[in-house]
């Protein structure tokens, strides 16, 4: 009796907490929403001196870094999952699988410092000057790889994010690949399919929805990542066409500007409004991933 009541309360508590956070963020951001209106979502301004704020640059940075990270992470994660479920000798599967899971547990600040002190100098010293010089004069590519080689920027941030989400996606993919009934695969092998053909024609169609769900889970993590991105994104409120250009994400601008925002100011309100927007984006992404993963995880 008491236990059931306590459990019910705990369940309700989560819902209340979630609702309270959404309401508080919305109320906090109301000042900015009512001051700027819908323009807030598309305005690229962020001028604390004149008190003009807009969400376009952080939203752009958040979406672009996350998508670039997925483009880099998904093929590698797929490779890991494929190797672990089909190719690797059985004695190797557990240690490698555990290593992947351990990677997911590394605190994000570690990735941030690694990115800032190891990856950024390499990017600034070798990779960026090489790309900038080789693409000079070629339309589009020239714009995509332009600007002074700071080392930090959109591409570096995406790279770090990719490394961070690979273990999530790989672990999910491996788990759903393992849900494929062996009899399907064995009959495919039986009619003479190669490993790749089994993967492409049996495993992927069977798990497609769940694989997309796992990718969305990684996307959710990439969207909200704060510390590691803050270190390497360059933290500038401009939309640049260059991948090497500095940018901003919602999480990084909130983390950086929060301490210097006086209570009751329009700036604080704008930051809370940004938090609300991020919450909504993450919520949608996670909801989709849950929806897609549900049929497979139940079995």
């Amino acid at each position: 009796m008491i236990f059931a009541a306590a459990a019910r309360f705990a369940g309700a508590f989560v819902l209340i907490l979630l609702g309270a956070i959404i309401v508080l963020l919305f109320l906090g951001g109301l000042g900015a929403f009512s001051r700027f209106g819908p323009i807030f979502l598309v305005s690229a301004a962020w001028d604390p001196v004149k008190e003009v704020f807009g969400a376009a640059v952080p939203i752009y940075g958040t979406v672009v870094t996350s998508i670039l990270a997925l483009i880099m992470a998904v093929p590698i994660a797929f490779g890991i999952a494929f190797y672990l479920t089909e190719l690797a000798p059985v004695w190797l599967r557990r240690p490698v699988g555990t290593a992947v899971e351990l990677l997911a547990a590394v605190p994000s600040i570690i990735y941030g410092m690694w990115g800032f002190f190891v990856i950024a100098p390499v990017m600034a010293e070798y990779i960026q000057p090489f790309f900038i010089d080789s693409f000079e004069g070629i339309p589009i590519l020239e714009d995509l790889f332009a600007g002074p080689p700071f080392g930090t920027g959109i591409l570096t941030a995406s790279l770090i994010l990719a490394v961070m989400v690979i273990p999530f996606i790989a672990a999910t993919m491996r788990d759903v690949f393992e849900t494929v009934p062996p009899v399907y695969k064995e009959s495919a092998y039986g009619v003479g399919c190669t490993t790749w053909e089994v993967m492409r024609s049996i495993v992927i169609p069977y798990t497609r929805v769940s694989v997309v769900g796992g990718i969305m889970l990684g996307l959710g993590r990439a969207l909200g990542e704060t510390m590691a991105v803050t270190f390497v994104i360059g933290n500038t409120n401009r939309i640049t066409t260059s991948l090497f250009g500095p940018g901003n994400t919602i999480a990084s601008i909130v983390a950086l500007e929060f301490p210097e925002s006086p209570a009751g100011s329009l700036k604080l309100s704008s930051l809370l409004a940004l938090g609300f927007i991020l919450f909504v984006i993450s919520f949608i992404v996670l909801a989709i991933s849950r929806l897609l993963l549900r049929p497979r995880l139940k079995t």
Binding site: A45, W46, D47, P48, V49, K50, F116, F117, A120, P121, A124, E125, G147, P148, P149, F150, G151, T152, G153, T230, F231, G234, N235, T236, N237, P246, S252, L256, E257, P259, E260, S261, P262, A263
Partner: protein, 343 residues
């Protein structure tokens, strides 16, 4: 006899620990945090006051003292006078510090490059983009400037250092003042942002052609390549303690309301142009007078005995008349619930 002696010893120990437990809490600016921490360590033994200082940023410090969740707030930018009145706060300065410009250019030694405020503003505004720009070449005859893109690096987090630096750019460049302005964070027209002094230093160090600004103490400790700047008198000065002190001495303390003295771009042949004071905000009607008294006792001790610690960390101590004025203001303005002065 032995038992009595032991009892006395225990009693003394209790009294001693009770005295050393006189704690005060403060929060705010990161810029003076090193000197406050050192003062705290020294004052614990010398004055029996234990300081718990949280370097959460100037804006955060102002919020916390307005909410009265700490004993004192600390900020680099002086607080808005209306807010001081509204929050019944007294503001006073503690030490002064300087901001210096750092560069990363091949084969360039410290203080070899000469810059003016206008050129610096143009660089950070993105209108001067190459190191061999005619304006830079004209300022630096005899220095071999490479044909390299300038990569301006600024603070990404809200920061008192940014407030001081942009105040200087606004003072020397009307263009900067109208387009960007001065604040703890501004809408930077060019360059990349980095977190903290260490972030700016590291990004500048990583980026060939980089230029950034950091607190002087940070540049000295890490042996960064600084530049000369032209001051209001038209002289090029190197960032030295003598140049900082010269600027500090020429500040007009007597006429500064709430001690919000302007030390930016001061006259004088030897003055370094980017110097600023850092401030403490203290309630005028403390709920717990004993704690406020301890705060004033702490800073009284620091005024009297902390100068050498401050200079050791490359901060500039306040002039003696300013300290005397602050001490008398403590007595006159901060009153307990009974209306009597706390100090």
């Amino acid at each position: 006899m032995r038992i009595v002696g032991m009892a006395v010893a225990i009693g003394l120990a209790v009294v001693a620990s009770g005295a050393s437990a006189q704690q005060i809490t403060g929060a705010g600016a990161t810029f003076p945090a090193p000197v406050y921490t050192k003062w705290g360590e020294a004052a614990k033994a010398a004055a029996g006051i234990e300081l718990n200082y949280q370097a959460i940023g100037s804006g955060g410090g102002q919020n916390q003292i307005l909410n009265r969740t700490v004993d004192f707030g600390a900020s680099d930018a002086p607080m808005d006078p209306a807010k001081l009145t509204e929050g019944k706060l007294l503001q006073f300065p503690t030490v002064m510090g300087a901001v210096v410009v750092i560069v990363n250019l091949p084969d360039i030694k410290a203080n070899e490059i000469k810059l003016t405020g206008e050129v610096l503003a143009d660089i950070f505004a993105g209108t001067i983009t190459k190191w061999n720009d005619p304006k830079l070449v004209a300022l630096n005859p005899g220095v071999k400037l490479p044909s390299l893109a300038i990569a301006p690096v600024h603070r990404a987090d809200g920061s008192g250092t940014t407030f001081v630096f942009t105040s200087y750019l606004s003072a020397v460049s009307p263009d900067w003042k109208s387009k960007v302005g001065a604040s703890t964070s501004v809408n930077w027209p060019a360059g990349a942002g980095a977190k903290g002094n260490d972030g700016v230093a590291a990004t500048t160090h990583n980026t060939r052609g980089g230029i950034g600004y950091v607190e002087n103490a940070y540049a000295t400790q890490n042996k960064l390549v600084t530049t000369q700047l032209r001051n209001k008198a038209g002289q090029f000065v190197e960032p030295t303690m003598a140049a900082f002190s010269a600027a500090a001495a020429s500040g007009d303390w007597a006429n500064a309301k709430n001690y919000a003295v302007n030390l930016i771009d001061q006259p004088g042949d030897k003055s370094w142009p980017i110097v600023s004071a850092t401030f403490i905000e203290l309630p005028k009607d403390p709920k717990d007078p004993a704690r406020s008294a301890a705060v004033m006792k702490f800073f009284d001790w620091a005024y009297g005995n902390g100068d050498s610690i401050a200079s050791g960390l490359e901060y500039i101590p306040l002039p003696a008349p300013v300290k005397a004025a602050v001490r008398s203001v403590w007595h006159a303005e901060i009153k307990g619930p009974d209306g009597k002065p706390v100090m």
